[in-house]
């Protein structure tokens, strides 16, 4: 049953104890909902449409869409093979590898940003080598993309790995017997069967890249049009023009809602398929 129905069902005989459930839930829901309502309210009252189309807001929007699409694409391109390996190969040290993949998800973004800077900055441990090749990452859009991949790609890998592991091993064996290699197996068997998990991973990754803040501001810096994504513009624009910050926040809330809604539909269909 939909938990919301249970939650809002009309009071029955033991309605007194229901409040033990309803009241704490309401407090938590208010904590989630009221700030979003406040943003909606203030933003619409503060010329949302006028602020959303200001050059500064548009530049941040454009950069955010470009960078997050690119980092999601790259996350998928490199994450799919990794997820396949994690799901189907057996080797020593796999647990450690899985830990490494999961770590960026729980790491504070500021730690991620500092680590990236210390590693790939101009004076960084590996950055010096890159600098010799003429590659300098900090303060570039490439740094924005790297920071986003660092924090978001693990979400795709996890989702894809789960999708791949749920496929019946007998099917794989059959494919092997038929002479299919890993590539054919991935392309002709795994992708068609796990596409929902993959798509869910794409959406999770994309929402995370859109919201990336801490790693970006530390590793890529803040320059409008080059490294200032929407979350940075919101944070730094707060003091100049609250209206622009509010309009950008609204946009991010809206995009996140749409993406999460899509994700929810996918999950529901997934469940009804497997059930």
């Amino acid at each position: 049953m939909n938990p919301l129905h249970a939650f809002f069902r009309p009071a029955q005989g033991k309605s007194r104890s229901d409040w033990l459930f309803v009241l704490p839930s309401l407090i938590l829901l208010a904590l989630f909902g009221l700030p979003l309502l406040a943003i909606l309210w203030r933003s619409l009252g503060d010329g949302f449409f006028q602020h959303a189309f200001e050059p500064a807001a548009l530049a941040a929007l454009r950069l955010s869409l470009l960078a997050s699409s690119l980092s999601t694409l790259l996350s998928v391109a490199a994450g799919m093979p990794l997820a396949y390996i994690l799901a189907h190969w057996k080797f020593r040290g796999k647990t450690a590898l899985e830990l490494l993949v999961d770590l960026p998800v729980v790491l504070p973004p500021s730690v991620a940003g500092l680590a990236l800077l210390i590693a790939f900055g101009r004076q960084g441990i590996f950055g010096r080598g890159l600098a010799l090749l003429g590659i300098q990452l900090p303060f570039t859009t490439a740094a924005v993309v790297l920071a986003q991949i660092f924090v978001a790609a693990p979400l795709f890998v996890r989702s894809a790995r789960t999708g791949f592991s749920e496929i019946d091993p007998q099917l794989e064996e059959a494919a092997y017997v038929e002479g299919a290699g890993d590539v054919q197996l991935l392309w002709h068997v795994m992708l068609p069967m796990a596409w929902r998990s993959l798509l869910a991973g794409v959406i999770l990754t994309w929402t995370r890249t859109l919201g990336e803040f801490g790693a970006t501001i530390l590793f890529a810096g803040n320059l409008p049009g080059r490294t200032q994504t929407m979350p940075l513009a919101i944070y730094l624009g707060l003091e100049r023009d609250l209206g622009v910050a509010l309009a950008l926040s609204m946009l991010l809330v809206f995009v996140s809602l749409v993406l999460l809604g899509t994700l929810r539909r996918l999950e529901k269909k997934n469940r009804s398929l497997t059930a």
């Binding site: 800077l117 900055g121 101009r122 004076q123 303060f139 810096g221 730094l236 707060l238 100049r240």
Partner: protein, 264 residues
Amino acid sequence: MRTASALVLLAALLLAGCAAARPDPEIQPRALTVFAAASLTDAFTQIGAEFESTHPGVTVVFNFAGSQALRTQLEQGAAADVFASASQAEMEALIAAGLVAPDAAQTFLTNRLLAILPAGNPAGIETLQDLARPGVKLVLAAEEVPAGKYARRVLENLDSLYGPGYAQAVLSNAVSLEENVRLVLTKVELGEADAGIVYVSDVVNAPGLSSLPIPDEYNLTATYPIAALAAAPEPDLAAEFLAAVFSPRGQAVLQAWGFTPVRP
């Protein structure tokens, strides 16, 4: 069982911590909240520590950030006792909003700007004119930050020395606009940027950096105002903290950290 004993141990530690923090039951613990410009971090931390030692039971809680960020926080209802700003504009905004009494703000120090270069000077910058050379990676404070506003003004002043277009060329070399002046310092110290523009006071505790002075006739004097907030939860402590800042000892500390105190 093991969790239970761990919990007991934790509780005992917490109790011990509370007991240690309150050696004298006669003294009521009080907290003084000071919002101060990021450039004041070192100096005010020292003044705060000395204030705590002369005021038993008082804890000074600092919030260091760009003055513009502090102003926004105060405008949005943050509770603080003292506000020390790196620019008059932020203080005036708070006076206009009724958060600071019109006659409460006093200038307590002045500061000037200079250009800083990381160890090894990777871009080979010899003069201020070199900052305009294409390809130099310059880090500035954002325009909303007092240090960023001052830096832009100084660059415009330098137009009369290096010719029109100088300021524009330097600004187009900016690779990042930081949220407070300390972050400019950090990015240059890490060697990620070729140069930055910060306060004279910022380089006092930054060994390894080299600096390019900005001649007085093109430099400017940043005046820092300080005030107790109209709605300060601890108005008495706020007044005492202001007195400490203006005291000979307080002014000496500020001077030691590279500021120019108003009462030397």
